[in-house]
Symmetry: C2
Subunit: 541 residues, 2 copies
């Protein structure tokens, strides 16, 4: 879901320039700088590593996170304008995204203040058990490399959740900016570095670098301790492999790609075809279909009224009510520019390639549709295919891969065996959704949900996967390629990706980190001798 | 720290036989079977995967863990006798290890009963925030491949912590037996499979396979979902790379190797040379020096009385008091057989290679020393080297690598700069130890501890790293190559390695896992609407 190059004019000399491009028109807006050289990467990572000691001051890094939110909000108009000019996501969406981004920083500031993320456990010496005094707390891993996402110029980019959670953990950050919005990245980096200085921290707690090769060099750098990535399967897998092949492998927390399957039961299709069709259209076209949780494959029953009559060979008779509803609703969605030229080209080619497969019907034709102010806008598409064609290896496997942009595929299953055959061929996903009829909650329904659990990190019933609520119970991740680790990249748990435990055995009080000393001078939540500290029944200490 | 082949006679046909060998004498005791073929691996993993559904029954898997402990204890005499015959670790040590192994199973049974490991979080729908009903719980990953460790035939092998924690998580297990104790592995697998049947579970929740190639095939199998490994850097790294290179990479939780550096401060050497020397001797020779936390490099101050006078070129004058003490105490340690022939050969070659380096003094000569009943026994060794020789790339880097067996290296530092130069060259470790003098607890001491934190998962002050207390505050892991992930392999936290979170959005009560339903019918610990359930101030629900 990312674009990894920007258009460059052929007469530009090395190093390659980094351009900000307007995706509505394809015009080069501004030259942001040049791609970072290996020497630039080395300087950025070493400077970040040198700033780590300053970040060990927990109150100060909480202050940094709050200052980051303040700085973003203070310059919100400029940030949103630049992000919109580079991403075409629109001012309302980006205003909301900036608010969410500032909220994330402040939420992590509270987490830093609270101290529960340190996961402090204290076991006093027990001579009966022959056990020494043992105290454990989490410690930051070191410099974190963050790869900005194309589809969230703020909330998953330079000032995004990976950055906020890593800084909260006490890790300096070097962000590889996304080529689709390099000016936004550079601007946000300036704001975050100014925020650091404003609270007495070195500005090098965060730096931004540009360029595809720079990204790989960043992952390879000996002082890089962990990676956070949001992007395509191809790019993410390549960087995952670089991280794993280092002399000292490092954690790679990547969110790579997700098809987000939806299953519509026969009863649901029979009773709610219009509602489901309209809801699906709204979900798969939201934000230009450029959300990682866009529903990309919808398993619908074959046969009227919910689906479409099929012959075994795939010849279609007439559309069903659900199909008509989704086509009607998606047909009314305004054409929209995509995030950048490469994303747009990949979308158009992806739709073309899928439509050309035998047995695939183009219910609503996606394609170019210039609109006022956006000559590069595209309109959404809806494809349909007999599920039987997806049940075995072959060219139709393409339909089981994410196609970034406003397109979805309806696959018609004739029976449970066909449904199961398709589910068995799916990779991991961020989400899996079921649309049940009103009274479907018996053993069949439970069995279907159990069947989906191995496929996804979030199971959605009678809703749509788009819209990722920021709540403690949210998990944003899933089996590969949805994610390369079991960690969540959204919510409070995201801080755990940048920490590791350290036990202290027999360390005198004076030499312990203050959070581990008797009396709990900093008042962090702790488990002492098997119990939460401060609860009745606590052992002395 | 593992041996990956067993001696085979040259006239044996394919498939290669698996022999149980007596490491005291080198005699082949029994033919345990043959190395597992790819078809064997496929069968074992598929059978394990098919047994996963039965393990979803939480009370039943708690019963399995308790039955496993019971079965081990019931046949303890036989298990200990076989393990001793194959490992030469001795009946007292193995009796204790069996008790610890049974304790681990029962501790994980309690964890399963308690349910906190599910990490249940419930956020009820909030229409003001536009938030749907969201509930999260951990779910098992699937089949776990476990690699048995050479040095713990029980506690880190077929019935060990990886197996117990994976079963506790609800994951079936296929163990690759260690070639040093294949009969113990096969015997324990029979006991665990019988334990499964005794509680109404399929025996295939656990299987054992044999052979080096079998191990790689096990990691590559599409249905293998995660790996637990304890062994050598070479073997572990190779399998780590196999896991990372799969079409769908899987988590690899490996404990590979650790030097376990010890720093003796000048004040400590000056005041406690005898005590430190004797303690060091006891620690590095414990269990034949075959513990993963054996202190393998001891940084001691140069110059009397604590260390040894050095010239810049490395010429030595006379031993210091600490050296004399360690040599004297280690010299009195009885010669001991090592775990297997390959381990023994690697130890002898490793000592030889290290002793041959320029500037290395052999204070106590390790080597072969046949004893009554153990013609293959070896005696411990102590080497010494000027720290300056370790400060730069070169052949002395060998001294910064783990040498499995009863040998340690004293490195004499003349000043803080030399000490720092050596610390800067160390890889990650399970432990890092400091020996302070009685009154050393000022800023210098705190700075030294801070310097060691990036190097290890456990910091030990004024003790020795051998002896891993099983306590909530214990972390057994560390930066690579001590571990390949940030997880602990000892203690309650080990279960988290085999779980991933799943969120349920808008799922009706009847379709939720019972642990997630309103009213908490199974009584597991949960956080509901931001608070621990059942505490005052809880929101209704």
């Amino acid at each position: 879901m990312t674009s990894d190059t920007v258009p460059v004019t052929t007469d530009d000399a090395f190093p390659a320039p980094v351009w900000s491009v307007d995706p509505r028109t394809g015009e080069h807006r501004a030259r942001v700088g040049v791609e970072s050289s290996p020497a630039d990467i080395d300087r950025a990572v070493r400077a970040a590593a040198a700033a780590a000691a300053a970040l060990a001051d927990r109150p100060r890094r909480a202050a940094l996170l709050r200052a980051a939110a303040d700085h973003l909000e203070r310059d919100a108009a400029q940030v949103v304008a630049v992000a919109d000019a580079e991403s075409a996501l629109g001012v309302p969406r980006l205003t909301g995204e900036l608010a969410r981004t500032a909220y994330q920083f402040r939420a992590f500031a509270e987490i830093v203040d609270d101290g529960a993320f340190l996961d402090v456990v204290i076991d006093h010496a027990d001579s009966a058990l022959g056990r020494p005094d043992l105290r454990r707390a989490n410690t930051p891993l070191g410099v974190v490399a963050v790869f900005a996402a194309g589809n969230f110029p703020l909330a998953f980019s330079v000032p995004g959740g990976d950055t906020a959670s890593a800084l909260a953990a006490g890790c300096p950050v070097v962000v590889k900016a996304h080529p689709g919005h390099p000016e936004t990245g550079a601007l946000c980096a300036r704001l975050l570095r100014a925020a650091a200085v404003s609270v007495g921290l070195p500005e090098d707690v965060l730096a931004v670098v540009h360029g595809f090769e720079a990204g790989a060099a960043l992952v390879r750098h000996p002082l890089t301790a962990a990676v956070g990535f949001t992007g395509s399967v191809r790019g993410g897998r390549a960087l995952h492999d670089v991280a794993a092949a280092r002399p000292r492998p490092i954690p790679f927390h990547g969110e790579l790609g997700s098809l987000n399957p939806v299953v519509v039961t026969p009863a649901a299709a029979a009773t709610m075809a219009d509602e489901i069709g309209a809801g699906l259209a709204a979900s798969f076209t939201l934000g230009g279909g450029q959300f990682c949780v866009k529903p990309g494959l919808v398993l619908v029953p074959a046969g009227d009224p919910g689906g479409v009559a099929e012959t075994p060979g795939g010849a279609r008779s007439k559309p069903g009510a659900l199909e008509e509803a989704v086509v009607e609703a998606a047909g009314r969605v305004a054409a929209t520019p995509l995030l950048d030229a490469r994303m747009r080209a990949a979308f158009l080619a992806g739709v073309r390639e899928r439509t050309a497969l035998p047995g695939v019907a183009e219910l609503l034709a996606a394609g170019e549709e210039p609109t006022a102010g956006a000559p590069l806008a595209v309109r959404p598409g809806v494809l349909a295919v007999p599920a039987a064609l997806l049940a075995e290896d072959g060219p139709h496997d393409l339909l089981l891969e994410e196609c970034f942009g406003p397109v979805t595929v309806l696959a018609h299953y004739r029976d449970q065996a066909e449904l199961e055959a398709v589910l068995a061929r799916l990779d991991g996903n961020l989400t899996a959704t079921v649309r049940f009829a009103a009274d479907e909650n018996g053993e069949d329904a439970a069995g279907l949900l159990r069947r989906l659990i191995p496929l996804a990190g979030r199971i959605v019933v009678d809703g749509w996967p788009t819209g990722v609520a920021v709540a403690p119970a949210m998990h944003h991740g899933g089996p590969y390629p949805a994610a390369t680790s079991v960690a969540t990249s959204v919510g409070a748990g995201a801080i755990g990706r940048w920490l590791r435990p350290v036990s202290y055995q027999g360390v005198p009080q004076e030499l312990l980190p203050p959070e581990l000393r008797d009396g709990n001078p900093l008042g962090v939540p702790r488990r002492v001798d098997g119990r939460p500290e401060g609860l009745p029944g606590e052992a002395p200490g």
